[in-house]
Symmetry: C2
Subunit: 128 residues, 2 copies
Amino acid sequence: MKINYKHSIIITLMLLSFEIASAQEKTQLVRLAKLQIDPAQLENYRAILKEEIEASVRLEPGVLTLYAVAEKDKPTHITILEIYANTDAYKAHLLTPHFIKYKTGTADMVKALELVETDPLIPGMKIK
Amino acid sequence: MKINYKHSIIITLMLLSFEIASAQEKTQLVRLAKLQIDPAQLENYRAILKEEIEASVRLEPGVLTLYAVAEKDKPTHITILEIYANTDAYKAHLLTPHFIKYKTGTADMVKALELVETDPLIPGMKIK
C-alpha cells in the first residue's frame, strides 16, 4: 500500500485519538462498594439505589458506570462496580441532588459499607 | 400529532426491539469471581488473564464483559464482574481454547476462587 498525504493524516488522527483515550483511562477512578442492607428495608433500598444510579448515569458524563449486583444467596449483600472518569467527576457526583437524596434517604438502611479502591486490569473495558 | 400507518409500524418495531432487549437481559448470567493469586506469580497470572479476557470478549459474542479489578491495597485479590448473554454462551466459553489455556496455565497460581452468582439491579447497564 502506498501511503499518501491523506493516509498519513488519517493515521495521525487515529493515533492521537488512541493517545487521548489512553490518557483518559489512566485518570479513571474504579472501585468496588460492598454494602449490607437491613433485610426489613431491602425493597425500599433497592428502589432508591436504582433511582440514584439511573439519574447519575443519565445526568453525569463523568459517571461511567454504577453496575450494582445483589448476591443470589444473600440478596442483602450488594456490590457496586463504580467507574468515574476522574477524581473531579467523583467529587462533583457527591454534591449532586440525586446522590445527596440517596445518601440521606438510605442512611439507616445501610448496615455496613466498605469502599475498596481498585485498579482495572484492562482500562477501557466495556459491556457489550 | 396524527399517527399514520408508517408511524404505527415504527412504534411497533421500537416496542418489539425493546421487548427483545428485555428478554435478552433476563437470560443473562451475571456473577462475581473472587480470586486470590500466589504473590510470587502475580505478574505472570495478570498477563495470562489479560490475554484470556481479550480473546473472550473479541471472539465470543455471548461474553458481554469480563471486567477485572485488583485491590489497590491487596493486588493479589482480584475480582471479575462476568456477564454472559445466557447459560449456553457461558458453557461454550468454558470449551474455548483460550479459556482452557487460561485454566490449565494458571491452575497453580490461583490460591482461592469463589464464584458468587448475582442478580443485576439494572440489567442492561453499560459502561460509557
